[in-house]
Subunit: 105 residues, 2 copies
Amino acid sequence: MPTSTLDVPRVAELCNALADEARVEIVARLLDGEKCVCDLTDALETGQSRLSYHLRVLKDAGLVTDRRDGRWSYYTLARDAFLEAEHLLAALRPRAVRTSKAGCC
Amino acid sequence: MPTSTLDVPRVAELCNALADEARVEIVARLLDGEKCVCDLTDALETGQSRLSYHLRVLKDAGLVTDRRDGRWSYYTLARDAFLEAEHLLAALRPRAVRTSKAGCC
DNA sequence: TTGACACATCGAGAAAAGTTGATTTGATTT
DNA sequence: AAATCAAATCAACTTTTCTCGATGTGTCAA
């Protein structure tokens, strides 16, 4: 459930999770649906432990969820978290073009 | 001018700039318009060089612009960059609730 | 039950980011 | 011109993040 206004630590947490290219790549790969770790390893041509690490960061931030099926783990984007991120970001958007120049101190 | 789709490095760059609470605080303070550095130093109760460092990170990412007037520097949120960020994030949002479970490998 | 597999986790090292105090720069006041 | 002030930059240090190879854990096949 997305919080509406200015949750500073949460913004930092979510952005932090998306602050690394490897993780954004992962998210991009998950856009067309659930993938298992082996699919991602192939697609991203990266070491298994590295991938596992980044998946964990995304998971800790709530941006993905995982599901186990036998030996495989499947990861899915968490729609709620992305909506939450959008709302939080929207709350940071400057309302209009500011013309008023500030005086100082 | 906001790019539309999946610019992975740019997402990482923007998110990185917002991945630190201090910087999100700064953005929050700038929401009601332009501020000089001294205002921010007071408001955030932080050292001057620390603030200057974080302002530079925000500026390098394009999220703020600065203007000099005499001895003072004024910082303003860059509306375009925030819109760009919103668009980029929107492009990462999973389209709908996925029910299809992936087969593997 | 042994071996192979998929993945998570660990430990150590490398790299990057953040903090702090001192110095520098450039503008203003006296 | 000298002193003062706002803010940027620097250098040294601390902390965090990332990477890589190794090990651990649970699952399945032979």
